[in-house]
Symmetry: C2
Subunit: 351 residues, 2 copies
């Protein structure tokens, strides 16, 4: 069966995005980015898609919005109220859909037994062990993991579907530059302090971009090293800002201190031809091919050594691998296979 | 029609309590207290009642618990996960009930359109103007206010049902004592600082009890006045602790700075025969009869003057008024009338 035969324009799919930021987000918002890419990818392949997201979202699908803006972008909105309004808005229209595909964490699971429409949940990450009881309650639902490494025991996973990006947003930077770049939330999990150490040890410039999620960490472990020259922090960046960074990058440093769930920025960097030096934790070894699209390392010293080998990496080959494995098309075809499985299972239940 | 004829043992009612504390709470937890009183009062009058609450709750009804303990009493529990598990647990069993009666804020509203069972929401308070959008969405649901003053525009209120207490918990203290007492959350809304001012101006002792909800307020406006003699803070108290306070009380000071929603402690104090000096804001004039069960005041000076008139208050008469208006029996009869209205309206819908 070719992947094309799985498309089913007669089926109506609802995509439930988070309501924190616009879909796609203006800057930060990885889950909204993926929800957007799934939505637009499905539309491009002929599906009838309804996106549940903030009213200022940008999409070619039908847009249904319980709120005009994401709660992170409008201080008059209470995040809890937004969440309940947004999720209930989708589930109250459940009968209009053959499938609800949720990208919004564990909360929507609590509505799934009150409707007949099947619900697929892409788990973009487990924020804490404390959220596991609700996944355990609904473990017989339909789940997709975004990497093989980020799976919980006992859940009914139908597949791993890697996140896909829009490669046209990140053109190949044929030559790159001489700087190291860091591009993630400023948080100990993302190892900004390790990136700074690697930059100092290798005598290279480091440009740090991303929202500050942990203010104390920024103040204590990042800010003291900023000198407006060798180690620079430029705040959060949008797509254009990312491309500007990729253009001057010799390598992206992603020395995460806890297992990465997926690591969208690794893929974006690779798409632009930027090699990635990543800690070998969690999904990084699924996203980066060691020695081909970057290097997997175990510590700061290995990262410094890897910088010396960056010239071994073929930049167009980085992009090719993203095209093959982490494009919107590849992701959407992955989801089409999952949807098809669900439609078959549901048909069996009814018969 | 007598109130007795409204009882309907063939109807099955679910009471949805909050999941912050045990039902009834060990100490603080006004909403859990009322949910418990409604539950036990209905059981006493022959109703088939299922209480959705923490597993350590104490009830004569059927108890269904999604969690062993309230999230405020178990640090291993995530409050958000608890909330979603608890509410969905009740709604997933909706078909087993003729009515779900929610005491848990706005969140359960978001599930109401996914089930056929009618849902009655007692609004124990609007915590912020930001929560109004979700009440507006579900404004055509069934609502009860706990005082005439605490109503929002446009909601489908079926009645005001005053909260009722178990009078047997608060025996009449025939004589009382010479102290002023304050019994509420330590929060600017509750006017602890005003109570302290009144105590100083009147040269009387003040005993302050309650959880500290606003640490900065406690540190800046309460703690500096504590002297272990004239102004004393004793922390939160349970029922026995309240009775010990009532036994030594000349009056309860309740100088709230924002409209009171109901004011359960005013009723508890009156039940014990303790006169209440309350700010004339919100529901206080519905709960306290000026000159009969206490005094309604507009400011600190009026409160000081009212202390001079406390001997005018007949303590047994305070209790009698509570027995009449704010007992569990009176409250439950009020809810029976509301339930009866809902059953009639639902029967009309079906016919």
């Amino acid at each position: 069966m070719s992947s094309n035969s799985m498309r089913n324009p007669n089926k109506r799919v609802a995509i439930l995005s988070p309501i924190a930021w616009r879909t796609p987000p203006r800057q930060y918002g990885a889950w909204e980015t993926v929800a957007s890419n799934v939505t637009e990818g499905l539309v491009a392949r002929g599906w009838d898609v309804t996106l549940f997201a903030s009213g200022d979202s940008v999409t070619r699908a039908h847009l249904v919005a319980a709120l005009d803006r994401g709660y992170e972008e409008d201080p008059t909105i209470d995040s809890k109220v937004a969440e309940y309004l947004h999720i209930s808005g989708a589930f109250e229209l459940a009968a209009e859909f053959d499938l609800i595909h949720s990208h919004y964490d564990f909360m929507p699971l609590s509505y799934t037994r009150l409707i007949k429409t099947p619900v697929l949940t892409t788990i973009h990450g487990f924020s804490s062990p404390k959220i596991m009881p609700i996944y355990q309650k609904y473990r017989n639902g339909y789940f997709v993991s975004v990497s093989n490494s980020d799976r919980a025991t006992g859940l009914n996973y139908l597949a791993t579907v890697y996140n896909g990006i829009d490669l046209s947003l990140y053109p190949l930077q044929e030559r790159g530059g001489n700087d190291l770049i860091f591009l993630a939330r400023i948080h100990p999990d993302k190892g900004v302090h390790l990136a700074i150490e690697v930059a100092r040890l290798s005598g290279m410039h480091l440009i740090i971009a991303g929202i500050i999620q942990d203010q104390a960490y920024f103040r204590e472990q990042v800010q003291p090293h900023l000198d407006d020259q060798n180690i620079v922090y430029i705040g959060p960046v949008d797509v254009a800002g990312k491309n500007a960074l990729f253009a001057r990058a010799r390598a992206l440093l992603h020395l995460n201190t806890i297992p990465e769930r997926f690591g969208l920025v690794l893929v974006e960097a690779n798409a632009a031809g930027v090699p990635v030096i990543a800690m070998d934790l969690g999904s990084c070894r699924e996203v980066i091919e060691d020695g081909q699209t970057g290097f997997l390392v175990a510590n700061v010293n290995e990262a410094v050594q890897a910088i010396g080998r960056i010239s071994e990496i073929d930049r167009p080959a980085c992009r090719s691998r993203v095209q093959q494995r982490f494009s919107i098309e590849t992701m959407v075809q992955g989801y089409e296979r999952v949807y098809s499985t669900i439609f078959d299972l549901e048909a069996q239940k009814r018969s």
